[in-house]
Structure formats: C-alpha cells, structure tokens
C-alpha cells in the first residue's frame, strides 16, 4: 500500500529504496496503525502518545507525511461515525415527539462534544508530532494544523449531516422556543420594577449599572434592571450560548441560526397578536417595540456576546447603519455602540413586528373604522407600520374587498354607509394625507351611493344635523358633517393670509423643499397632489355629482323645517346657513337666505300687527270658541316670499269660522301696514296647539291645521258622516279619511260604517271607553302629543318639482315620437338638448329624463320596447 501511494508521487524514488528501508517503513506503518487504533479507542488514555510520535517521525523521514495524515483522519472519521454520531442520534430516537426533555438534549450535546474534544486532542497530538518533525527539519509546517482541523471539522459535520434525523430541526426549534418563553417570563415578572426604576434613576446611577452589567451592556433595557434578574438571565443565556456554541462546533451553524431565528419570529408574532388583540383604543406599537428590546434583543445580545459576536457578522458593512440604531452611547461614545449584528437583528425584528401588526390591523380595518374616533390609536399604529413597510396597496385591496362584502350591500342603510364613508375619509386622512389611497378606497363607495335614491337626503340630514342639538349631545357629533363645516371655515381663515406670501421667494422655496413625490400607487390621471385635497365635504358632494342638487335638497328640508316651526327661533339654521355659504358660495345659498330672512321679517311684522290691530273682542279673554270670538293673541303667522321657497303643497281648507275671521283681520292689517302688499293664506300649513276638554279629562295636542279643523267640527255635532265632514272642512273625502286617522288613533274619534257603504260615520268617543288606551294621559293633561305628519310634507319634494319641470318637455317628446316613430333614451336626450335651448333650457340629466319617461310609460302615454320608446297606440 505504501508503495502504491509513493509510486503515484515519484516512481523513480522507488528504485532508491533499499530492502531495509522498505522493511522499516512497513514495520513502523503497522505500528503507527496500531497506535492510532489504541489512541482513538482508548477512551482518554493518552499513554500511547510518545509511541505514536516516534512512529510518525519515522514514517515522515521516509516522506510519507500525507499517508500519515490521511490514515489518521480516516481513522478519526470512522471512530466518530461509530461512537459519536450514532450515539448522539440514539438520544433523540428514544422520543417520537420533538419535545424531548431539556436534560436529554443537554446530555446528548455534552457527550458528543466531549467525544469531539477528545478526538481533537488526538488530532492535536498528531499535529504536534508532525510539527516537531517539521521543526527538526526546519521546514515551515505551520500551515499543517489549520488545514487538518478544517478537514476534521468538515468530516464531522458531513457525518452528522448524512445521518441527520428529519426531526432534528424541529427539536432545535422547540428548544429555542422553550428558552425564549422562559426568558420572557423572567422579563415580564420584572417589568413593573423596571419601570419604577426608570423614573428615579439619574445619570450617575445609570452609568454605574451599565458598567457592572454586561461587558458590553449597551441595551437600555439592561441599564435599568436590577442585578438579581440579570444573573438569572445570565445563567439562562449562558446555557443557551453553550448549546449554540456546541451546535456550531458540530457544524450545525446555519441550522441553529435558522432554528433560533424562526423561534424568535414565531414568538414575536404570537406576542404581537397577543398585545394587539381586538382592542383598538390603545396604541400597541410602543409596547411591542419595548418588548422587542426587552426579550428577543436581549437574548440575541447575550447570545452574540457569548459567541464572541464576530463569528458571523464580521462582514457586515457599515453602510447599513440604520436610523434605528440606538445611540445610548452618547454618554461614553465609542465604547458601547451596539454591534453591527445586533442592529441588523433589531431591524429585522422591528420590520417583522411592523409587518405583523400591519397585517393584523389591515385585516380588521373595517371594524377599526366603524368605531373610528375611539380607534384612532390603532390607526396611528397602522400609519407608522405602513410608513415603514410601504405596503399601502395591501391595505387598499383588503379594505375594498371588506367594503364590498360588508358595507355595500342592500342590507346597509344609506346613513350607515355615509357615516362609514366619512369615518373612512377621516381615518385614511391620518394614514395618507395626500389622499391617494383614499381615492382608490372611496371610489366603490361613491359609485354605490350614487345608485341609492335617498343619498342626497341623508347627506343633507348629516349636514344639518346637530344644529338643534347643542353642547349636551356634542359627544356623538363625531360623524356630523356640521363639525366639518366648522373646521373648513377655520382652515379657510388660516389659508387666507398665507396666500399673500406665496409670491414671496422664500415661501416658494420652503414649499418647494417640502415637496414629496406622490406615492407610486397614485393615479396619474387624477392630477398631482397639489390639486388633490382631502376635503370631506368635497368628497361628499362628489358623490352627488353637482352641488346644485345638494343645495336644492337642503332648501326643501329647510323649508319643511321652517314651516313647521311654531316660534321664530332660527339661530341654529342661520349658523348652518352661514357655514354652508362659506363652502358653497353665497350665490347658491341666496334663496335659503331669503327664506331665513322671511322668518326674521315675519317675527317683526307679527309683533307689529298684533300690537296695532284694533281688537273689538278684547273684553273676552281666552280662546273660548263657544262665543264666536278668539283672541288675536293666539294667532302668529309666518309670512313667506313664495317665489324663493320651494313649491308648496296647496290644499284647500276651511278653517273654523272664528279663526278664519282672525286670519282675515290679520291680512287686512298687514295690507294696511304694508300697502300695496297683501297676504295669501296657506291655510293648510302651520301648527296648532289645542286642548280637548272633556268632562272628565283634558288632553293637549300639537297638530296640523287640518287636524284642528276636523276636531273642532265635533264641538257642536257629535257625529259626522265623512261626506258631510269633508264638505264642512273643505277637503276631498279621501284626504279627510286619511288624515282623520290621527284622531282615531288617539282614541278621540271612532269610525263606523254608515247606511251607505262608501260613507263612514265618525263619532266622538265617550270618555270611559278609551281610558284603557290613554291611561297615561288621564290626570296628566300636560302631556303634549305631537301630531305626526304621516309622511305628509308641506313642501313639494324634489321629485315632484322635477316632474313639474319636465312636463314642459312632454309635448316635445310626444311630437318627436310622432315624427320618428321610435327613439332610444339617449337620442331623446340629445335631441332635447339640441332643440330646447330657448326658455326653458333643457338642463336635465339622462337619469332624470329616464325617470320622467318611465312615468309617462306608466301613464300609458308611451311604450318601452327593447330600449326604444314608442307612442302608445
């Protein structure tokens, strides 16, 4: 064998070998093999050492160094495989589960480490032998030892890797997880104490503590911790450090790193989920960061310190110095800056924490926005996370799908959708002041709301709500748009003076330097951020499309409100109007202003008329209707400029004689004072407060004039047929039948069938019969029952107005269809647009036209087939 090896090197050399030297070689080689065998299996017996050395020297003198090395390494390898590795794995085989006992793990590691140490000692002996031989021959053989050790290390790890059981990584994972939990418990136990310390420590104390703590104790968390706990940790961390060290020496470096990294990340994830939970009213980001500092980073810090830190991170380039690198070293710069490796770990952990929290929050964004003002801490957290991770598009996608699934369904009321929309705007405004993502998120909501009929009404209600409610309910005005109006006013005031400075070069420079590019997700079609402004009102109005529609709806609502007022108190309406004027411009609110002005004027005129009117009936006080006189005191009037009010529902009504008398006196006086103006009463409008006095009880009501007129007819006559009553009150029978239900439901009147089936008979109820129904009112005459309007409004709704306006075009449309036979909707629309330019200009939308045409279809004037309109034959 020796020959064959040598022959590959130098065949000529063989010839020079004498018989004796061959014999010597063979002899010493077999002796060397035997010595090696004894040494490796000798279980710590190093006595064969000197023998080995001499054999080695002899073999070397024949130039057989490489043979010696190869044989020795081979023997080491075989022994390790036989004794070390298989024994090591047998420790784990006993357990099917990954959760072997901690002690078993330690024992296994210790055993194999001892084995390895022993073998290393043997290897060292060989190296020593080689070196002494080399030294004698004064040849430079320093490089022999690292090479040998590297080879040995390689063979050890390859043996272990080759025989690795599949569950070993899991075992490592389990081990680190367990240790982390232990550490976390220790830390958590001391948390409160740490906080207290933080309060009363001063710099001196801090210094001291730092010095006695870790040799490189740069972590802030260390500085303020009591020593006792520190030693606890130290022991634990030392254990872990030893394990990692052992594992590394066995060649499991990357596997170990994977294991503790994944354990840390899993643990961190659990912690984030645990801390974040479903409570959105507190900010959790800080506590997560603090926890990262306290547990995993400290763990890593200790670990890296134990392992000498430089092992795996030497190559870290200083270019990666992050803004997050803490600089507590300001006290003693240069000594205690955190190592590069630790900073990288911190960055990784924090990014992971941000991402986890962000995912958690994004998944629950819908709920968070539902209780928005309360959940703003969660929004703040999310904002910070997103700033760090930049995954805004994730938010947009997930939130839109949540919206589609949960909000934009037929089951949600328009009001809820609008409120959620406003909350969304407010919340996302925090996250993204430029409004880019808001644009994307808002789009589906806007589209959906446009399809709802009551959107405008709800918006107007939101705009005006809270006007009546003063400070006592300010708590829930969170989603009232009125507040937005207020804010808008303030911001406009603030902007006004600033505009002057814009010309200033300095200001321009400041603006320019403040410029930031739009986020990548920005839609370039939507214009740059300068033109985009997150303005809630603007976005709300944007749903409707035009502000005219909104103003119109507001006017109708305002009219309704004003006409049903029994006093002239309009302060809150004035305030709202002023705010709306700022936002929508004075001109568009002109009519509303006149309406409010009418109320103010009415109050003045009313006082004036009542003070100056001749009152012949002054002697009889009170409103006794028994005499045909009522005092002028009970009459108030709202006098309107009808041209500026929305069209008003006119119904004829015969008010009771005495009141009618009052009305005409009032009108006459008005005519005297304000010649040449006169009054036209809208008798069906207004409110009446009256009291019904029965023999045994009294009841108060606030009702519409029609109700009052009806019930007053029953003073003289206890029973009326509906026909007669309708004639007496002066309204059509069907209206009477509908409105009289109010009194029937209150138990004042009873309805019965008369002789004629069409004719109902209404009778005044006898007091006792209905006591059951109105017990509450008995003896409590102060009860004020407000007559419900039953959906009857005094002002024509916007739809009614539209229908009225559209009738002008009916002739055009019918004429068109006569000429062309059949036409599609948009053709009719375009033709009208083209030809109706003169007074009145055709300014309706396609939708308005469509609804008008479908009205005509239902009136059987037109026919609709396959999208084409025909004249009904």
């Amino acid at each position: 064998m020796a020959d064959s090896i040598s022959s590959t090197c130098n065949l000529g050399f063989l010839d020079t070998l004498s018989e004796t030297s061959i014999h010597e070689i063979v002899e010493s080689y077999s002796a060397f093999c035997a010595a090696t065998e004894t040494l490796l299996n000798g279980a710590g017996d190093l006595s064969v050492g000197p023998q080995l050395v001499s054999h080695v020297h002899r073999l070397c003198s024949h130039g057989l160094e490489s043979l010696v090395r190869d044989h020795f390494l081979g023997a080491l390898e075989r022994t390790f495989e036989k004794d070390g590795a298989s024994k090591f794995w047998r420790h784990f085989e006993a357990h099917d589960d990954v959760s072997i006992g901690e002690q078993v793990f330690y024992n296994a590691l210790e055993e194999i480490s001892l084995e390895k140490q022993y073998q290393e000692k043997c290897l060292l002996m060989l190296v020593h032998a080689l070196q002494t031989y080399g030294g004698r021959r004064s040849r430079d053989s320093d490089d022999v030892s690292p090479e040998l050790f590297a080879k040995y290390q390689l063979s050890v790890s390859s043996i272990l890797m080759a025989t690795l059981p599949r569950k070993f990584p899991d075992i490592l994972n389990w081990y680190f997880k367990g240790r982390l939990e232990e550490l976390s418990t220790i830390m958590a136990g001391d948390e409160p104490r740490g906080d207290e310390d933080e309060d009363d420590r001063d710099d001196m104390e801090l210094d001291e503590k730092c010095r006695v703590s870790y040799r490189s104790g740069q972590m802030e968390i260390d500085e303020c911790n009591p020593q006792g706990r520190f030693f606890d940790n130290n022991k634990l961390v030392n254990n872990i450090g030893r394990v990692v060290h052992d594992l590394r020496s066995l060649g499991f470096t990357s596997m170990t790193e994977d294991a503790y990294a994944s354990a840390i990340f899993l643990f961190l994830k659990d912690k984030v989920h645990d801390l974040a939970g479903d409570d959105y009213r507190i900010s959790v980001l800080e506590s997560i960061k603090r926890w990262i500092q306290a547990v995993p980073l400290q763990f890593l810090h200790a670990l890296l310190a134990y392992l000498g830190d430089s092992v795996s991170y030497e190559s870290a380039s200083s270019g990666l110095k992050s803004p997050l690198a803490k600089c507590p070293a300001s006290f003693y710069p240069g000594i205690d800056t955190p190592s590069e490796g630790l900073v990288r770990w911190q960055l990784r952990l924090e990014y992971f924490a941000y991402e986890t929290l962000q995912d958690l929050r994004i998944a629950k964004l819908f709920e968070i926005i539902v209780d928005y003002p309360d959940s703003s801490p969660a929004i703040e957290d999310l904002k910070q996370c997103l700033e760090y991770t930049g995954q805004h598009s994730k938010l947009v996608e997930s939130f839109i799908s949540a919206l589609q699934y949960r909000l934009l369904t037929a089951g949600a009321s328009t009001n809820d959708i609008l409120h959620q929309y406003v909350s969304t705007i407010k919340a996302l405004r925090t996250i993204d002041p430029a409004g880019v993502f808001l644009e994307a998120v808002g789009e589906p909501i806007r589209d959906y709301l446009r399809g709802r009929k009551d959107t405008i009404k709800c918006i107007v209600t939101m705009l005006t709500d809270g006007t009546g409610a003063n400070s006592n309910v300010s708590g829930n005005t969170g989603d009232s748009l009125l507040e937005e109006l207020n804010r808008d006013e303030e911001s406009q005031e603030n902007i006004a003076p600033e505009d002057d400075f814009h010309t200033d070069d300095k200001q321009a420079w400041i603006n320019a330097s403040r410029w930031e590019p739009d986020p990548v997700e920005a839609d370039p079609l939507k214009g740059s951020r300068n033109r985009r402004k997150v303005d809630i009102l603007g976005m709300i109005v944007g749903i409707i499309g035009s502000q005219d529609q909104l103003v119109n709806e507001y006017r109708v609502m305002l009219a309704e409100k004003l006409l049903n007022k029994s006093d002239y108190d309009i302060d809150s309406e004035i305030r709202t109007l002023e705010l709306l004027k700022i936002h929508f411009g004075e001109n568009s609110m002109q009519k509303c202003e006149i309406m409010l002005n009418d109320l103010i004027g009415s109050k003045r005129t009313n006082t004036n008329i009542k003070a100056t009117i001749a009152q012949p009936s002054h002697t009889d006080a009170g409103g006794e209707l028994g005499d045909n006189r009522v005092s002028m005191d009970i009459l108030d009037a709202t006098i309107i400029s009808s041209n500026f009010w929305p069209p008003i529902q006119e119904e004829s009504l015969n008010v009771p004689g005495p009141v009618d008398q009052l009305l005409s006196d009032y009108a006459k006086r008005f005519n005297e004072i304000k010649t040449p103006r006169k009054l036209l009463w809208k008798k069906n409008l207004g409110t009446v407060k009256l009291e019904l006095q029965f023999e045994d009880r009294e009841m108060q009501f606030m009702v519409a004039p029609l109700h009052a007129a009806i019930v007053m007819q029953f003073q003289d006559q206890k029973s009326w047929t509906s026909k007669d009553l309708a004639a007496a009150v002066g309204v059509p029978i069907d209206i009477l039948n509908r409105r009289i239900n109010f009194w029937i439901s209150k138990g004042i009147l009873a309805e019965s069938l008369g002789e004629d089936t069409d004719d109902h008979v209404f009778t005044l109820m006898e007091g006792m019969i209905d006591t059951g129904k109105n017990t509450a009112n008995d003896g409590n005459c102060e009860d004020l029952i407000v007559g419900d309007e039953e959906g009857e409004s005094s002002v024509a709704s916007v739809e009614d107005q539209l229908r009225k306006e559209m009738t002008v075009y009916e002739k055009f449309i019918l004429g068109m269809l006569t000429n062309f036979g059949s036409m599609a909707l948009d053709r009719i629309h375009n033709t009208l647009k083209m030809f109706c330019i003169a007074d009145p200009t055709y300014d309706k939308t396609l939708q308005q036209l469509q609804s008008f045409l479908s009205g005509l279809v239902s009136e059987e004037k037109l026919e609709l087939r396959d999208g084409m309109y025909f004249l009904k034959k």
């Binding site: 709202t638 009808s642 040449p676 036209l680 809208k682 009291e691 023999e695 003073q715």
Partner: protein
C-alpha cells in the same frame, strides 16, 4: 258627552304678494314678488312703484330708467309721461 276645545295658539303660514295686476316687472322682466337684478332681498328692500298710468315697476328699475332719460321720462309700457302716483 261634549268636548270643548281651547286653542293655545294657531301658527299660520301666509305668502305675501304685491297687489299689482301684472306678474313681472316690465323693465327687468323679473317677478314683482322677486326683486330687481340689483337687489338681494325681496319685499321691503325692493319695493314696487306705480306711475300715474297705473303701470307698476320695481322702484330701482324705474328710477334707473327715469334717470337715464335726458328730457322728460316716459312710461316704458305706454309711453305716457312718467309721473309717480302720489
């Protein structure tokens, strides 16, 4: 069983109108019940005025007209000499 009804108040609603024969002002073509183009508030702030010929105009409109005539002003409707109805 009899019921007696006591009225506490009756809050009525009325619309005012100018007691003129025509609907719109002959000069500005705006409704009398509205106001002239220069005014914002109708009613007392933008009154009507009658001429001796019984034609009515917004006060502001006819004044503008009268002031713009160099010599004697005439009623824009009937060309009679304009005299305010006393």
């Amino acid at each position: 069983m009899k019921v007696k009804i006591l009225l506490f108040w009756w809050h009525a609603v009325a619309a005012w109108t100018w007691d003129a024969q025509d609907e719109t002002c002959g000069i500005c073509r705006m409704a009398f019940d509205g106001c002239c183009p220069d005014c914002k508030l109708p009613g007392d702030d933008c009154p009507l005025i009658w001429g001796a010929c019984n034609h009515a105009f917004h006060l502001h409109c006819i004044l503008k007209w009268v002031n713009s005539q160099t010599s004697q002003a005439h009623c824009p409707m009937c060309r009679r000499e304009w005299q305010f109805k006393g």
